[in-house]
């Protein structure tokens, strides 16, 4: 196995814990793993290296046929969620391997990826942090975007001008979160700070790409 560690998880919610010296640490509780290696991507066959892992066992009839057949061929059970993680090589990995939270230790740095909460079609205040107009003194300009261009010159609205848009519900990664606790019994991972997405949202947790352990 290589030195990169990864897992799939569900976000459970946030709370706080006390360190021994009384410092309060805000943490997100993740229900992580157990995951099973369901397949490998090799340079010879696929042109790149990756390990595919499955999370949340599913009955075979709930899994689409391509995935179901692939699982049967690999000799692994069917899963509701499959995700690939890029690795440097696939040496040491083989289908059927179990991955649990035990691979992580308090103090590890991880990157957590997920789909952020969707805000629907959001105005400029929520989407871009614009200011707000006066609510009183007869002002009707409360949440309007304000001016979006000049006059005869340039005679158009510049490309990229910030306007109301569909906001959220995109893939986001929070980097370098500290693992504050691991509970192998319940399969829980406590990471410092917030992570993208709603409660029960699917997350990918992996060893931090850039962070240096303090």
């Amino acid at each position: 196995m290589s030195d990169i560690k990864f897992l799939l998880a569900r976000k459970k919610g946030m709370t706080q814990i006390f360190r021994e010296d009384g410092t309060v640490v805000p943490v997100t509780v993740l229900e992580a793993g157990p995951c099973t290696v369901t397949g490998l991507r090799t340079p010879e066959r696929d042109g790149y290296c990756a390990v595919q892992i499955g999370f949340i066992p599913a009955r075979a009839k709930h899994v689409r046929k391509p995935q179901r057949v692939a699982a049967e061929k690999a000799g692994v059970p069917a899963f509701r969620v499959l995700r690939e993680f890029r690795t440097v090589s696939v040496d040491g990995w083989e289908p059927g391997q179990e991955l649990t939270v035990e691979q992580f230790q308090p103090g590890d740095l991880v990157d957590v990826t997920g789909r952020s909460k969707g805000r629907g079609f959001a105005g400029t205040i929520k989407a871009h942090g614009f200011g707000r107009g006066s609510e009183t003194h007869g002002s009707m300009n409360v949440r309007q975007p304000g001016a979006i261009g000049a006059c005869a010159y340039p005679g158009r609205v510049f490309k990229g001008t910030r306007m109301a848009k569909h906001y959220g519900a995109v893939r986001r990664t929070v980097k370098n979160l500290t693992v504050e606790g691991v509970d192998p019994e319940r399969g829980l991972l406590l990471v410092r700070g917030g992570v993208p997405g709603p409660p029960n949202g699917l997350l990918q947790v992996r060893t931090a790409r850039t962070g240096v352990k303090k």
């Binding site: 459970k12 919610g13 946030m14 709370t15 706080q16 814990i17 006390f18 021994e20 010296d21 009384g22 309060v24 509780v29 229900e31 509970d183 319940r186 829980l188 406590l190």
Partner: protein, 111 residues
Amino acid sequence: MDIIREVEKQHMKADPPAFKVGDFVRVEYLIREGKNERVQPFIGQVIRFGGSGVRKTFTVRRIVQNEGVERTFPLHSPRVVNVTVQRGPNRKPRRARLYFLRGRTGKSAYL
């Protein structure tokens, strides 16, 4: 949600000190002085509880040099070493948060 509760339970005190709103308590709080740690007592009347789970807090009010002082402590913090009830309220408080004591002194602040 239940998982959160269970995680919180692990970081809560097994038997947190028992006291109620209105009690006059002595809070022993660890403070750091340079490299040493020592216990600093704070004595006063509990005027409210806030939060729930590990985040539960309580506020103690006392009069120092004719000035009202309130401090809020996290109940489950390891820095809150001990809380002892010195005496209960004179009368049972009829509300959960004794904010009405703030404007009062002397006999009218009696409870």
